[in-house]
């Protein structure tokens, strides 16, 4: 269970302070699939970053699987990021100097897993995302969809409890988008908690729970609400 209690975040650039997140309370149960929707600049990425321990909140408490995150040091937080959380970024962020295989293996290197086990894990995931034939390719030699699949495989390789996906289909065409969404849905059905930020209502529709972020404030929404408001036929 992930629990935000009065968590806020602001950014200070010289003398300009941006309140990206107002104090927020949010509880995420394990196994949920939540979509965060909202206009650009509303705070979706910031919220996901806080949830994913990429950003430290300015106030409030974040309890991750029973641990108060604010009491953890860098090493412990790095370990949590490594073991419990998988990230899927809008622009993939595969490391350009490594081949697909090495990219997927990277989190396991940080977790100091034995190399035999690592090999089995990575090949299994390459199979699962359909990239077995591209293991030795550099990221620049892959299509966007393939890169995102590799990135998802990388996110899954430590078998994390939570996957964070910030506009995972933002740079993909329709077909690739559908494939990536199918992958995420399957994972969720297998028990992985998925937290996704998106602009795309069609995609949000595929999740169990939708949360709207607006000016750093969150509101639980049902899709019907959006459908009627934006005139979409469900």
């Amino acid at each position: 269970m992930l629990e935000l209690i009065g968590v806020s975040k602001n950014f200070r650039d010289s003398d300009v302070i941006t309140q990206a997140l107002q104090p927020i309370d949010l509880t995420v149960q394990l196994g949920e699939f939540i979509s965060f929707i909202g206009p650009s600049g509303s705070g979706k990425t910031t919220l996901l970053n806080v949830l994913g321990l990429l950003e430290t909140p300015c106030s409030g408490d974040y309890v991750f699987a029973g641990k108060n995150v604010s009491t953890l040091n860098d090493k412990e937080k790095s370990r949590l990021r490594n073991r419990e959380i998988g990230y899927v970024f809008q622009s993939f962020h595969l490391l350009p100097d490594f081949c697909v295989y090495d990219n997927i293996e990277m989190p396991l290197r940080y977790s100091k897993m034995h190399s035999n086990l690592r090999r089995k894990r990575v090949w299994g995931l390459l199979e699962q995302v359909g990239l077995s034939d591209f293991a030795k390719y550099k990221p620049s030699q892959l299509s966007g969809g393939q890169q995102q699949k590799a990135a998802i495989a990388r996110a899954l390789v430590t078998e994390p409890a939570v996957i964070l996906a910030d506009e995972p289909t933002g740079n993909l065409d329709l077909n690739s988008s559908a494939e990536v969404m199918a992958l995420l849905t399957t994972l969720n059905q297998q028990g992985t908690t998925i937290l996704m930020a998106t602009h795309n209502l069609d995609l949000a529709q595929q999740s169990k729970r939708v949360i709207e972020v607006r000016d750093g404030v969150i509101k639980e929404r049902c899709l019907v609400h959006y459908a009627s408001r934006w005139g979409i036929e469900l």
Binding site: L54, S78, M106
Partner: protein, 403 residues
Amino acid sequence: MKDLKPIISSLLRAKMAPLLLILQIAVTFTVLVNSVYLMVEKHADITAPTGLSENVLFSFQIPHQGEEQSQKIANMYKHLEAIRALESVERVSIINSIPLSNRGGGFDIKMNPDDPVYVSKAAAFTGSYDLIDTMGVKLIAGESFSLVDEEALNDLGLGRSTGVIISKALAQSLFPENWHQALGSTIYLNQVPHNIRGVVEHLAGPWSFWQYKKNNIILPTIFLMTDITFLVRSHEGLREQTMKDVVELLMQDPHLHIDELKTFTEFKEAAYQAQNAAYTTLQFVIVGLVLITMLGVFGQTRFSVLKRRKQIGTRRALGASRMEIIRYFTIENLLITLCGATLGALLTILANNLVVAHLELSPVPWPYLAYSSAIVILSGLIAAIQPAINAANISPAEATRTV
């Protein structure tokens, strides 16, 4: 070492910048090796023991123009007596020239009068029989001169058969396998045989630049030159006082002149002035080279961190701790400096071989390659600390920021 392969591959991708830095380090290294070598040599030169009790010695000259020889000798002994009687004076002797004063006389040394070439060269110090004790030179074998050996003549007294005392360095160059054999052996100075009756540990020669400056001979003949040089040894810590006492004493005679009143320390400083200047210059050169290396490494590491902010953020998001990021950049930097040092070492060895083959100079000894590598690698590591810490402080959220 799990990061080694990708570090190398990303260095290879970057090509130009690391390569230039490696070349820069290699060239710096080559200059550094030679500078360190020269500096250590200069240092050894400057700090080499003179063998003399440097802090209690001073000397002066009394000109004896137009005096009869017998008058000259009588006056000299009168002065010696009077000075010796002063309370602050421990000893006083006559000497032909002061070590490191840039004045003196040298000889070819032969082991046989018929040898066509000399075995070595040496300078001669000659004066009162107790000159060794006044100088504070340490006798390590054989025996010293005694009063009966002393004689005042108009030359160095090479024809006399009192025997000579030589420095250990000279003994070693005559008998490289065992210098003790020098004792009792005969050497030839200007075809005249001399028995070696004693060996002293260290004795600086007249000229600090002379190749044979450690080879010296002592004879017990007072050489009656126009100017008689007195070497005075004061009691510990009383040199200033003693100088004043001696001058006051001698000035009681209104006809007397004193020249060249100088402490031994002054002679030594003057003799090593050039070496000291070179030593200081070399220190600046070395510091400069180290700074250049550090600047290069600092710039390259900073650049490589700046270029990879997103990648570093991504690694952090995937679970790399701060330490692991610091380690990555440390290894990268070590690789570059190691390549530079290795290339520099190859260049140095190449240059060494050329120097040895064509110029008959002594090559830079091996350990200096190790010292210089250590200097280069250490300065590289220090220079990379700040950029590496900067890299470790990049937020993992960097990975999610657009642009």
